[in-house]
Amino acid sequence: MSRIDVPMPQMGESIAEGTVSQWLKQVGDAVARDEPILEISTDKVDAEIPAPASGTLVEITVAEGETVEVGTVVAYIDTDAGAVAAPPEASPVPEPEPEPEPEPEPQESDPVEVAAAPAPPPQTAPPPPEAASTAPSGGVETAEDRLRTRSTPVVRKIAEEHGVDIESVPGTGHAGRVTKHDILEFIESGGAAAEQVAAAKPAAPATAAPAKPVAASAPSDLWERFYREVHHPEFPVRGADTVEPMDKIRRLTAEHMVLAKRIAPHVHSFIEIDFSAIDRVRSASKERWKAQGARVSYTAFVAWAVSRVLREFPTINSTISGNNVIYRGNVNLGMAVDLDPGLIVPVVHDADHLGLVGIGNKIVDLATRARDRKLMPAEIQGASFSITNPGVLGTMVGLPVIPKGTSAILGTGAIEKRVVVVTDPNNGTDSMAIRKRALFSLGYDHRIVDGADAARFLSRLKEMLEDFPEDA
């Protein structure tokens, strides 16, 4: 019998592997040449793979969900079983002939260069600065030329009509773009006239170019490579190992963690908190809360105090964004919830406007719905500061990673009874006492939060927790 291979096809020069997403035919099915027998997926592409010959599908060697290298045999077709004897070549599908010579597309290796690369080749020499800015009418403009003008077609048309060099118009749009409003205001304010005079002088106005906000978009290739791209190194698999692909949440978590640490220089500071005062408030309010059906955990106390203290420390409720600092106008607390496996961080929005019981109930509600996967998108977004509780599983302290887009995170260690030295306020005598205490760690982005700021924040938090107000 002639049994022919069905290999994982070469779907592109740079595509080394493919995942079998679905078998459209099963072992024993008759297949006709060119009839789709399986679907594969690579990257963002789904592709149908046709049978290379007519016959019977006699063996499937790669199961759905498995990823194999190009050329790996995924199935065998017995051509004797079919009506027509197909040519015995084990042809990669679709179509056997080898890829033609790599086309001359030099940009292919450098995505950044391609981003700005002009498609039609003419106009190789960069035009003089003055000419470049005034969008040559009708000429072949490259993507790069257009980007330099930081403007839309409408704005370029207005500029041309008024003989304005767009580069001399201050842009207030994103990335320094010149909006329609900007250019109209510029013309209105007589800037156009001044501009025309300046343009008449030959080389002098060239100096007008620097110090433009457009510079903000220049490091984007660096941004792309450094702040967006995450590649996890690969390691050899040993005999007894099992290998599983990461699911989406794990992949995103892995990527987020790498980027978060890559961007923010992490520093951690610690403080020990005494829970005696909190315990007093808890016992005093226990009956009342029970009657209300309120659920106020230790975490609720911490969240309440943090939300108040954050109002006094705007840098800890901020984030660096480009060359700016965004001070968040709301105190939105991300509360890490263990899903085992996985983690979700629902957000208590405007926590500083909620009372202790309100925060307690909100945390219970969010955590419950997080575990049931019933959170609304808005409920997991917009955190300005986060709290994680590694202590809930008994660990003494953690060094949490600061979520992207925030400047700090608090980690609360296990609350344990410890022997501590206490001083009698009346006579100054020292003695040993048993107190409930926990270590707190503050992870902070050292670009924006200085060590002293962190220390002041933690001291203030300690003060508030150890002298917890009765009426919170």
């Binding site: 963002k44 839309t152 989406k248 609304m376």
Partner: protein, 210 residues
């Protein structure tokens, strides 16, 4: 083509793919808008749709298994959707090159509006500093015939993307021409025109627009 429900667009594409394979039609580019719809790619986990069914229906968002590559995405009014039905034989049989070409078209269209958009090693699509501007997900049917394609946010209501943000992970933000340009944002029809121009240039042939 105006606004076309997702299900109809799927059927139309299947029909055009068959016709293209038989050589009955030339390479064809479909340009349209969809009503609110969430579509799943082959690698999507349905759990990444954050709305439960009742809420989704209440908000009038359809849900489809799209039969294309890529993960979950959202389509809706104000978004330019382009589905090229091309025969990649004989000289364009490289799916990565095809994806890169689609990205190139999108980058050039963004540049028309002074927006610097780039591709990212991290995934197919086109990003600006503010977020993902356009998504790409394609299918290649037997005989190297393409379908599905790109979705460029022009004036999309970006809040709809929040319905598909994966749990707890602040995913990359989404952007649109409107978010980039604010009141200067162009109309969909104008962007379509520019898309066609750049598409024809990058793909180097006359294109029938359906």
């Amino acid at each position: 083509m105006g606004t076309v429900p997702y299900g109809e667009a799927l059927e139309l594409q299947a029909e055009l793919v068959a016709q293209r394979r038989r050589g009955e039609i030339p390479d064809t580019l479909l340009l349209l808008e969809h009503p609110h719809v969430i579509t799943l790619g082959s690698s999507s986990d349905p759990q990444h749709v954050l709305l439960d069914e009742a809420e989704r229906e209440r908000r009038g968002i359809e849900l489809f298994q799209a039969g294309r590559g890529g993960d979950v995405t959202y389509h809706g009014p104000g978004q330019l959707v382009a589905y090229p039905i091309l025969d990649l034989k004989p000289d364009r049989k490289d799916l990565h090159r095809y994806l890169r070409d689609l990205e190139r078209v999108l980058i050039d269209v963004a540049a028309e509006y002074g927006i610097e958009a780039v591709r990212s090693e991290a995934g197919t699509g086109v990003w600006t500093a503010l977020g993902k501007l356009a998504a790409i997900g394609i299918r290649v049917s037997s005989g190297w015939i393409t379908s599905h394609g790109i979705a460029l946010n022009v004036r999309s209501d970006l809040s709809y993307f929040e319905t598909i943000v994966p749990c707890g992970i602040p995913d990359r933000d989404v952007s649109s021409l409107e978010r980039e340009l604010e009141e200067d944002a162009p109309e969909l029809a104008e962007v379509s025109q520019r898309f066609v121009e750049h598409f024809a240039r990058v793909f180097g042939h006359e294109t029938i627009v359906g």
